[in-house]
Subunit: 257 residues, 2 copies
């Protein structure tokens, strides 16, 4: 629940929005879901990350997890069109001591360590997926696995919320994802090429799932308290000059109190 102070701050910030803007934010908020969440594992092309951010916003998928193992997660506002600010994005930064990806960086690291060998790499994937599981998510690995893989249209959504994991561009999901997966999902293909690019895969999967949760009567909406908190965050992030306004509000409140 928002505290009384937060509620007053929220009303104050909302005062700086046009009614149309406020209405737009409410409309979008009503369509947000955490029933489907997106997990990106170690992407390296910023265009892909950005494209997926944009898909998530467009389809109401509010929570996006970006795991860095070897690569820094970057997005490109030219591609995501600034939508990242409307999402609950959780970026798990590359752990210290991981071998840098650039040749220059690797050379430097090799020089720095006494035996000339970079420290072993450590994946953050297992802990991120374990956290999601403990929150009740089923882990859906997007990778062909066996003939009985689920399709976006047949994945069991009634069994509970899903965290759909997309792997790195070249090699797909890691063994850590495979080990944690509750379900494997594939998109049927009938051509010479046997994969879609990451952005296209994510668009297809999330389009289908996002439509299905709405049609199948699943409890996909944000809880009231969660929605209130999201609106609060949006206001703080997106009202023009919000920081200055918050400082003023706090000063005035302290003065008035």
């Amino acid at each position: 629940m928002l505290s009384e102070d937060e509620k007053r701050l929220q009303e104050y910030l909302e005062g700086f929005l046009t009614p149309e803007r406020k209405e737009r934010m409410r409309t979008v908020l009503e369509q947000r879901t955490r029933y489907i969440t997106c997990v990106l594992e170690d992407l390296f092309d910023p265009r892909n990350g950005s494209a997926v951010i944009r898909h998530c916003d467009a389809l109401g998928i509010h929570e996006l997890h970006a795991i860095e193992n070897k690569h820094r997660f970057k997005s490109d506002t030219q591609v995501d069109l600034g939508t990242a600010q409307w999402l609950d994005m959780r970026i798990y930064r590359k752990p210290r001591g991981v071998a840098p990806t650039s040749v220059k960086g690797r050379r430097r690291a090799a020089q720095a360590s006494p035996d000339g060998i970079p420290p072993p790499e450590k994946s953050r994937t297992p802990t991120v997926l374990a956290d999601l599981k403990s929150r009740g998510y089923r882990i859906v690995a997007t990778s062909p696995h066996a003939d009985d893989d689920a399709l976006p249209e047949t994945l069991d959504l009634a069994a509970g919320p899903v965290a759909v994991v997309f792997g790195t561009e070249k090699h797909g999901i890691s063994d850590a994802v495979r080990a944690a997966a509750d379900v494997f999902l594939r998109i049927p293909m009938v051509g010479f090429v046997e994969s879609f690019n990451l952005s296209a895969s994510a668009a297809i999967v999330f389009h289908v799932l996002s439509r299905r949760i709405r049609l199948e009567g699943l409890p996909w909406r944000l809880e009231a308290e969660d929605a209130e908190r999201v609106m609060h965050t949006w206001l703080r992030r997106t009202v023009p000059h919000a920081e200055r306004l918050i400082a003023r509000f706090e000063a005035e409140n302290a003065l008035g109190g």
Copy 2:
């Protein structure tokens, strides 16, 4: 129908393929369709064209029309992964006399024309769409239009084959497409951003339609004669050293005859 000579040439070329390769080509061929065809109007980003080429191959959509009005259609084999050779791609090259897109080109054109005014631009879109209509295609414009727009899931596919038109990246479909459209199609969105990028839109639309034609008992398969012709083209394009082999075959045949 293939002529007797073509049939013999085909057998000859097939002799240079492994049984696995031949089998793979037959399997892919059986899944090809012209019931859905893709029309790209004046794209300018080669990555988009290439991504759509790859989607079409992966989903069995055999025929792709790329109309150039102001921009040259280019694809990038890094992105399409060489799939263009497996499609019936029809590129309508930019007509002569169109104002060049670069500033330098425009200046040169202005200098060349006696009154200093570049010739009027002429769109090839109307004739391409008219040709498709005369072949029985319904023109599906991918652009929000009105509340009753079709969705990929609700588009009437039983009414006949569809040519799905995607417009240029920034401005979407042209007025020529709007004028020729039998149906408007939109992808439902519930976020702050009100569009998908072109590659994502095409992936969603073609995934859904490609699945639907297969499930809804529509006459989506290539006709036998068409399929035979496609296989012939594939062999000529993809058997290693096909040109040399064909020359040898023709020489031997002439010698033998």
